[in-house]
């Protein structure tokens, strides 16, 4: 028993970077992600390569990211954290960090530097929105429209969503105030930089809701990312918001008559957090994996499987072609300069403060 353990340790150290010396590492890891195409891109881009290097490690998946915050809180209260690494959106990582449910990450020590020597902190830059968060990808919530149902002139501006005369028919929006309120204010003439100041006032909230009121009858509200592509495919809506990767697969993989409307796309981040309260050996393993999985090459590799932009600046030039379709992925990235002429940067801090309040107002408005 002890011998085999020692042998395994020796093998690990022989194969692996010097970081592995310090601590004995557990050989099991439970990763939590979203399932579907996104999770398979993670498996192909860095989990399988990691397992090739460390055949002794066994990975278990849990597709619980949507309820990750609540579940982690419950695990923490019960004193039994079974997850090792959890994929969450940026706002959830902030909540987890605020609640003390996620470990703070030191980018210089815990993350790999870029190949050109740029430190991880600089390479990720502004995207390190929380002390506990290691971003993987930039995705955006943006609009798709039915090319055959919008008449001769395709929509070019997010404000076309609010234009029922030019583009009659139903549109789908996510059932939450985030993004929708900002788009409404923007299309009601509020300058981009003033959006959050306006939204911070009662009048601003009323203004946004009043703008949404003009299309309320024509809105189908969605809660799951798969809904808008389906609604578009069925012809239930002429345009709708969803995650850009979902639209990519509808367009590129399923050849649906859908066009992308990148104007005012709302950037968001998805990344890893490490739960608080892991035993030392498990934590050592997960930190080792995390360093590998978020290095420049791995993040660039992920973009071969899904149209989300790598969170590292140094990864962008390495993005190549789609692993199966062979198409150039760069033009489908939300971060591509052609797509990112007018983007909406979502203010995590502001929403963390005001989400509960605005949600109550938004729900009350919905129920009216």
């Amino acid at each position: 028993m002890k011998l085999t353990k020692l042998a395994a340790l020796a093998a690990t150290t022989a194969l692996c970077a010097p970081a592995a010396f310090a601590q004995e590492m557990a050989n099991e890891m439970t990763l939590v992600s979203w399932g579907g195409a996104y999770q398979s891109s993670q498996i192909k881009a860095y989990v399988e390569p990691y397992l090739e290097m460390h055949p002794e490690v066994k990975v278990t998946w849990d597709e619980s990211s949507a309820e990750a915050v609540a579940k982690l809180r419950a695990m923490n209260e019960a004193g039994n954290v079974t997850w090792d690494l959890v994929d969450v959106v940026a706002s959830d990582s902030m909540r987890l960090c605020d609640e003390g449910l996620a470990v703070e990450i030191d980018p210089s020590a815990d993350l790999a530097a870029a190949p050109d020597g740029t430190s991880a902190e600089d390479d990720f830059g502004d995207l390190l929105v929380s002390e506990c968060f290691v971003p993987q990808i930039v995705y955006s919530t943006t609009f798709g429209y039915r090319t055959d149902l919008v008449g001769d002139t395709a929509p070019t501006s997010v404000c076309d969503v609010f234009d029922l005369e030019a583009y009659p028919g139903k549109r789908s929006l996510q059932k939450r105030p985030i993004d929708n309120m900002e788009w409404a204010l923007f299309c009601d003439g509020v300058a981009k930089e003033d959006i959050y100041d306006t939204l911070g006032t009662d009048e601003g909230v009323s203004q946004a809701l009043a703008k949404l009121d003009t299309i309320k009858d024509q809105v189908v509200w969605w809660t799951a990312g798969a809904e808008t592509p389906q609604l578009l495919a069925d012809g239930e809506v002429v345009m709708g918001s969803t995650f850009n990767g979902r639209l990519f697969s509808a367009i590129a993989e399923q050849n649906q008559p859908i066009g992308m409307l990148w104007d005012m796309q709302s950037f968001d981040l998805d990344g890893w957090i490490v739960p608080e309260g892991l035993p030392a050996d498990r934590k050592a393993r997960v930190m080792d994996f995390l360093k590998f999985a978020t290095d420049t090459q791995r993040l660039a590799d992920q973009a071969k499987y899904i149209s989300y932009g790598p969170a590292r600046a140094s990864s962008a030039p390495l993005v190549g072609t789609h692993a199966e379709l062979g198409i150039d992925m760069a033009p489908h990235m939300p971060t591509d300069p052609a797509n990112a002429t007018n983007v909406h940067i979502y203010d995590y801090e502001w929403w963390a403060d005001n989400r509960d309040d605005l949600n109550a107002k938004f729900e009350a408005w919905l129920a009216k």
Binding site: G100, D353, D356
Partner: protein, 424 residues
Amino acid sequence: MSDMTDTAGPVLAADGTPLKRSLARALRRQKLRALLLIAPLLIFILVSFILPVVDMLYRSVQNGIVTNTLPRTVEALADWDASTGELPDEVVYAALAADLKEAAEAKIHTKVGTRLNYENPGMSSMFRKTGRKAKKFDLEAGGPWKEELIDINKGWGEHDNWRTIQTYSPTITSGYFLNAVDMRVGTDGPEMRPEDEQIYMKLLGRTLWMSLAITSCCILLAYPVAWLLANLPARKANILMILVLLPFWTSLLVRTSAWKILLQQQGVINDILVYVGLVADDSRLVIINNQFGTIVAMTHILLPFMILPMYSVMQTINPSYLRAAKSLGATDWTAFWRVYFPQTVPGIGAGSILVFILAIGYYITPALVGGTKGTFISNQIAFHISTSLNWGLASALGAILLAVVLVLYWAYDKIVGIDNVKLG
């Protein structure tokens, strides 16, 4: 025998001990054995049902976090009179600085921020931002803290924020419950929230009436099916029973999604109506993403819970009752209405209670097919559990829902009588 009872003293058992004690001893052993036998079930129910309910009720009022995280501040703030409209004095700020430093080192300052943010938006970032600096506070040399803290975040200079801290310093709070009934603690005690934030009472009302509508639809649809089940020859009844149970073998999501395909505007039902010519192509019916969609989908999903108790009650009704009624001169309708139907009421009652209670707790189906007007209060509970993490509010809403169910149960008992509920 007779002379035994005639004597004045206590009746004795064969070995001379009083009969009562000897009987009690014998029974105690029996009771103990019975208790041991049901112990696994008892413990299971206690752990998996009673304790969570108690925990939920406790969470809906529990508020220890403020005092535990900011003990000095709470103590210092006790003397502060919020009604003067002035900010607290330096003592309170110093206490806060000390509390924050300690909390930030233990990384619990953001938790209290999140808690207070439920009541007063903006306090979450106040604590988060201040906490970052608080680790470096020099409590001996630093200060004056009033200026320094306001300098770090101007929120500390706002009277309202201090009032919130003071209001929510007790370890027990009614805040969650007030919130759950669209109220809040104002300057002069509890008051209604502004109209544009009132939602829960409206949702509760909607949940109740839609659950009633669903229950009624289930009764209407289930009754003939249950009757067929109970009266068809065994072979046909078995096939019908399989059809009734079949939905249980399909995922809830699949069934709900199937309704989407059927009911949406480009869906099967609208297509047929347009094809038949009942509806014009440009005025297709909106029968999903509203209350109608929720009622249809949930009636379908909950129907078996109505059919099964009805069926099991109908099965016990001997067909000779109907024959007897007819032989006594009753028409088919009178025989049904006066003899058969009253005997099925316990089944209807059991099915209705089952369906109603399941319905008011449903959230997946309303979320998927309910649109904006067909969602339930459980959707808000789910939102607060998994997204906003305001478990206190979720617990308060859950407790209110529980109370409503108990009140309805009590009313049912008063009106119909709970003995009149039979599952077979």
